[in-house]
Amino acid sequence: MADNVWILGIHMTDFGKHPDKDTLDLGAEAVNGALADAGVPMRDVGVMASGNLIGNQGFGQLLQKQIGQTGIPVYNVSNACATGATALRVAMMAIKAGEVDMGLAVGVEKLSGAGLLTGNAAKSEGGSWTRQGRYGAVADLDGRIGTETMPGVFAQIGMEYDHRYGGADFALFAGIAEKNHAHSTLNPKAAYRKRFTLEEIMNDVMIAYPNTRSMCSANCDGAAAAVLVSESRLRTLSLEQQRRAVKVSASVLTSDPWQEACQVLPDINTLTRQAARTAYEQAGVGPEDLDLVELHDCFATAELVHYDNLGLCEPGGAVDFFKSGATWRDGRLPVNVSGGLESKGHPVSATGIANVWEIATHLRGEAGERQIAGAKVGLAHVIGLGSACGVHILEKAS
């Protein structure tokens, strides 16, 4: 039986605009914060996994030159919006395999002002039609055969849920954004901390119906890092380190299995359901045991389907679940009390560690004004389109 893995230290930078800091500054801030939180020096770390999508090759090695070149193996990972969770998994697997007893995972992105993440701008035409790519297309397909914009893809995923089960209209999706923006007002690290009324959200600029601008994740700068430790090593550390350590009860990464319809619209449901099922089995807990959840609300339409995918509600019951008020911070199962990606922000590679930081901070009882009282078990979920899904279940040290 492989050793259990614990989070010894974890840190998230403020999310938002950091015009005076580059990706290395942000990464170093996150790593040094996580090491200080862990109470260990860089030389104790045996493996490093690093994620940065919009930046240099070999980002982890560049970062080591700012935090300590100790000669340990570096794994530069890339899994779209699940990159941070993938970095965590890599460090965890090295510990589980018994190769090291302490590992570091870091994710960094600078995305402020990146605007809409879409397919490429349409090329100007001229010359003769020439077939390209696996569809043998003579022109760009974005906008001609469906949409490649993320708000549009995830809008369809939410509308498909409505088609299947009913009850999810524009106002319901907007209500999810209303909740998350309201939650963000208590999070000093969130990129945006403004509460919006339902009317303001619905009357905001329409991006891809039913997602208006304030129902979309916010591009911003940010980084997050975690120091992981094996249980046997943890037991040699100070009582204070052991008290603040957070147990990783489940760590799961999945890709999307073949489904008929996933060939034309990404299926973010099946792989999330499989990841959740496996995570609950690993942790020996069920959705009813969770005190809070941070899930991948890259768009308001996505949050709805993940209530169902993560088993937080009855199958097909996500609309009623949300309408019950369960997912507000004073509800039965608070979801995205950080403000979620819609207001906390979504610096892509950092997200899959930042949501783990949020859960860990509540389990440690250190979440300040937004603390979920008595939180003992929490779940963090991310999706990277393509697709990859990361689910982590964390438990407070007993």
């Binding site: 022109a139 469906g146 490649e148 509308m159």
Partner: protein, 132 residues
């Protein structure tokens, strides 16, 4: 005027009208619109042409108001269930608003102009339009 289909899976040669032709895995029946080395469902590598139903039901959609430079907006993008085969398409010949586009509506295949190259060849795309 010579024509060229926007994508290879759009067949404009049938006198009965446009049709979509998928590559169907011989062993498991999974269908693909792009070139595959092997089947993503069963790893089989033999494919045959399979004609897709030209009418279907709109399973989901979005109305895109904000897209990459050069992409005209607003437009309706969606997925049509063509008797069990999911087809990605724009929904055309309908006002791009949620009062006129609804999931569950019946739609049928039609063609849309894409443009003309300098040799006078018209590229022709496809869309699905409401059946009324």
């Amino acid at each position: 005027m010579p024509q060229i289909p926007l994508v290879e899976y759009l067949d404009l040669t049938d006198p009965d009208g446009p049709r979509l032709v998928a590559q169907e895995c011989v062993s498991c029946g999974a269908r693909y619109f792009d070139r595959r080395n092997a089947c993503a469902s069963c790893s089989g590598s033999d494919f045959r042409a399979a004609e897709i139903a030209t009418e279907g039901v709109l399973r989901t959609f979005t109305i895109v108001h904000f897209a990459a430079d050069g992409v005209p907006v607003p437009f309706v993008a969606g997925v049509v269930d063509c008797e069990g085969t999911s087809v990605r398409s724009n929904i055309v010949n309908v006002a791009p608003d949620p009062e006129h586009v609804r999931t569950g509506m019946g739609v049928r295949l039609t063609t849309v102009p894409v443009g003309t190259d300098e040799y006078g060849v018209d590229a022709v795309g496809y869309g699905f339009e409401p059946i009324d």
